[in-house]
């Protein structure tokens, strides 16, 4: 019997990780996921942007960081654009790759 393709695997993994985020455990998860200094939930500064792509691996550090960013709804605060629409369509449902940059 054949297994799942890499694409299917990573999409389903992202989907599951989105659904199974337990907000009450975020701080603990972040502590585990990120090396010090730990970025508190409220320190994503104004003027920073969230970039996202629809393909990425499922390393635990990245995933947990992404959940933080998605939870802050930064994407939704971006001005309307094709990029924003694309991010919302591909990133939000699948908890896809994201990074915060200046």
């Amino acid at each position: 019997m054949s297994g799942l393709s890499h694409n299917n695997q990573s999409r389903i993994t992202g989907y599951l990780d989105t659904l199974l985020v337990d907000h009450s455990l975020w701080d603990a998860k972040l502590s585990l996921a990120m090396n010090p200094p730990i970025r508190p939930l409220n320190t994503i500064a104004e003027g920073k942007y969230l970039l996202a792509t629809d393909s990425f691996g499922c390393g635990s550090k990245t995933k947990k960081y992404i959940h933080l960013l998605n939870g802050l709804s930064i994407v939704r605060q971006l001005p309307a654009s094709r990029l924003k629409a694309s991010i919302l369509q591909s990133c939000s449902p699948l908890a896809s790759e994201a990074m915060c940059c200046d």
Binding site: L4, I12, T13, L16, T18, L19, L20, V21, D22
Partner: protein
């Protein structure tokens, strides 16, 4: 409370029949049982003569406005069945729209776990009847349960659904960082057919540590019970199907389950 999910990513394998049969046998022992219908088709709900098209409230409503933490509301949703001690958390057809509405939202896979945390002292067992597709409802069931029972029809096509189900389970376990024991239950077994015999053999070769050593036979009494809206053991407690489910229950009850603290679900 002990929480068992009855799931397979293939339809028609005996999920609802397994939920009702095990629920009836647990009630026979005096256990307080909650049956939960997570399938938008509402087969379990219809079994007990509730109409999934016309019910005012259902599991669906618990996914919105934090109602999964409102015990008074949860009690309003729960319906009695024909047997004292067995209740039903019903489905409505609106559940079919749930995926579209909530699947992109963080934490939506934990709604049922939070609901059951509220009901922890009210029931001894919760049995979850799941839809045959990977979606927010199946994920809720897998995230909430302590044991997975996978009924699998003894015919070749069912092996693919079984493979998908086991794969999904492993991904959920990885995401939640916990182990979940599972038991594969061969169903609709007919020893007179070559297909049943060869599929059962193959199943045991593929999953040697997880396939139950017996099988649920084809039994028209199970169908008759469904037609009457009765638990199979109320209909005929000595039928072949009921006897097989009784053996299965004894096996499941002995199994070691993961410790699933109420506080985690809350």
């Amino acid at each position: 409370m002990r929480i068992w999910s009855i799931a397979n990513q293939k339809g028609g394998v005996g999920k609802t029949t397994s939920v009702v049969s095990l629920g009836g046998l647990l009630a026979e022992r005096g256990a307080r049982v909650l049956l939960i219908d997570l399938d938008p088709h509402g087969s379990l709900t219809s079994y007990f003569r509730y109409d999934p098209d016309s019910l005012e409230t259902s599991l669906y409503d618990l996914f919105f406005n934090q109602r999964c933490k409102d015990l008074d509301f949860i009690h309003k949703v729960i319906c009695p069945t024909s047997r004292k001690g067995v209740d039903l958390l019903p489905a409505t057809t609106a559940l079919a729209t749930l995926e579209r509405q909530v699947s992109g939202q963080d934490g939506m896979g934990l709604v049922l776990a939070k609901t059951l945390a509220q009901l922890w002292d009210d029931y001894d067992y919760a049995l979850l009847d799941t839809p045959p597709i990977l979606g927010v409802l199946l994920v809720n069931a897998l995230a909430a349960c302590q044991r997975l029972v996978i009924p699998t029809q003894t015919e070749h096509l069912a092996l693919k659904g079984l493979e998908r189900m086991v794969h999904t389970l492993k991904m959920v376990m990885s995401s939640q960082n916990r182990q979940l024991p599972y038991t594969i239950v061969p169903t609709l077994f007919d020893r007179r057919t070559h297909a049943s015999m060869t599929t059962l053999k193959e199943m045991r070769q593929l999953y040697p540590d997880h396939v139950w050593q017996e099988a649920i036979p084809i039994d028209t009494k199970l169908r008759d019970a469904s037609h009457e809206g009765l638990f199979p053991n109320e209909m005929d407690s000595l039928s072949r199907g009921v006897r097989a489910y009784r053996h299965l229950l004894a096996e499941l009850d002995q199994g070691q389950e993961v410790k699933h603290e109420r506080t985690i679900a809350q």
